[in-house]
Amino acid sequence: MGDGTPATPKRRQLTLEQRHALYTALLIAPATLFMLFVYAVPLAYVVSVSLADKTTGAFSIGSYQQVATSSLFYKVTWTTLQISALATITSLLLAYPIALYMNYQSARVRAFLMLLVLVPFWTSILVKSYAFTVIFGQAGVVNQLLGLVGLPSVKLLFNRVGVIIGMTHYLVPFLVLTILTSLRSIPPDLPRAASIMGASKLVVFRRVVLPLSMPGVIAGSALVFILSLGFYVVPALLGGRQDVMLANLVEFYLREALNWQMASTIAVMLLLTAALFVALLFKTRAGAALAGEQRA
């Protein structure tokens, strides 16, 4: 109006913080919306299916009552927990020594050994499962070799032994990686100081290295146990009738019993079990450290 003051812009000026918040929202939105509609909503849909009546579709906890009285469900849950615990323990027994061994190698040797851990880590679970069927089968490599030296053949496939070997093979690299990380984070001065003070190698290990690597051991074992709970391929391909796990039961109800409600209910139960153990893991310091490592 010619009074000399500059016209105030019509568009509301955003503060720097508002502008930043807008950019942040634009960056996070695609992934978050995608995961909301292609992951969270489907999971919620499964929950709703599990709570619907098979014929009328009305709200019903019938499937849960059926599950609660199903001896098959209890048996499979028990099998799942047993196999998961056993696979976690065998994996830990194999992983700790090599993590320790790798920790004491020169950087170059360690990098090479790391490749020997990473290649199996990345190898398709189907390649591994196939390898075990070929090696452990009735006419497989192991039994061929046993036959050569005149020993009776052994049954390593389609039973608990096969499942545990297959799962351990899959899980060991996970544990090596987490344990090695926590071993590497021990300041080298600590074991050095302990041995200067006169501690023997064994004492240094037992009193210094082992306790300081426990966060990695706990976090890694918990991670591996949680992964085990959802195993599907290994028990299906290497296990027998006695080794059906919860994930296989979900498929059984969906494909063979054609009962979506039961399949959903068991999936929800499996989800809750895994969530329970995840929550327990996050309660521990090790879990918090692991989570911090992932996010931060």
């Binding site: 918040a21 992951y39 969270a40 398709s124 093979h169 599907y232």
Partner: protein, 264 residues
């Protein structure tokens, strides 16, 4: 007193244990690879002669090659989609502070921890309800859910290596957001982006359970085809497939290791 013999013993035990575990990890795949070059119709170990018959059979059977091509297509598209969305989210999360950020991050990472069968069933029922029948679309949606968290993990780790003041200084010097992203963030993040994409690619290429639930008849991905073959007919071609798949894995592994070295 620690005698030197004592130390030698411990070293020996450690070495023996390490060799045992590495053999356990490597040997099964190695045996299959060796057998895949055998010259008999049936698999034997050790092979009696060298031949590439099994590989020829793989390329001669349209069922196998089509599965492989489908897997490549799905893995490339899923990994790329995951990389774009995951990188944007990783930057947004790393460069901001807001209430509920931890929750958003936990949500986006959560598919790592959730049993695959639950996601598989959920998507199966949900996509059927929505009537989405396109095989590629079903698989890509499922695979992005499975791979996006891994992109998020690797790119977030990469961002932690980048000194934030580099972005700040570029901004103060007058660079717009896009220029900062293109000239500063992306070049510095290149190794992490490569790792993230490869991670997503391999995860998608090897994914079994979600694909097993979502594929439509006659459109099997390579892992689904392998799964059903191990289940039902144990074709010796599986040995050749395993060899090629492992070759791809080793290649991806070496590239990732090289990138990690570059990043440090």
């Amino acid at each position: 007193m620690i005698s030197s013999r004592h130390i030698m013993t411990w070293r020996g035990v450690g070495l023996a244990a390490a060799i045992f575990v590495f053999v356990f990890l490597i040997l099964p795949t190695a045996i299959v690879i060796i057998m895949s070059f055998g010259d008999k119709r049936d698999l034997v170990f050790p092979p009696t002669g060298f031949s590439l018959d099994l590989f020829r059979r793989f390329f001669a059977e349209p069922g196998w090659t089509q599965s492989a091509l489908l897997s490549f297509r799905i893995a490339i598209l899923s990994a790329t989609l995951s990389l774009v969305m995951g990188t944007a989210a990783a930057i947004g999360l790393a460069r901001s502070r807001f209430r509920g950020k931890g929750l958003v991050s936990l949500f986006l990472h959560s598919p790592i921890m959730i049993p695959g069968v639950a996601i598989a069933l959920a998507l199966y029922l949900y996509l059927n309800m929505l009537g989405i029948r396109n095989n590629d679309a079903r698989l890509i949606l499922g695979h992005v859910v499975m791979t996006l968290p891994f992109v998020l993990v690797t790119v977030s780790a990469g961002l932690r290596h980048i000194d934030e003041t580099l972005e700040t200084v570029a901004t103060v010097m007058g660079a717009g957001l896009f220029t900062v992203f293109r000239r500063v963030t992306v070049p510095l993040l290149a190794p992490a982006l490569t790792i993230g994409w490869l991670f997503a690619f391999v995860t998608s290429f090897d994914e079994v359970i979600v694909s097993w639930f979502l594929v439509r008849a006659g459109h099997m991905t390579l892992p689904v085809k392998m799964y059903s073959s191990i289940m039902f007919d144990i074709s010796p071609v599986l040995a050749a497939v395993s060899t090629m798949l492992t070759g791809l894995t080793v290649f991806a592994c070496i590239v990732m290791a090289a990138m990690q070295k570059k990043e440090a």
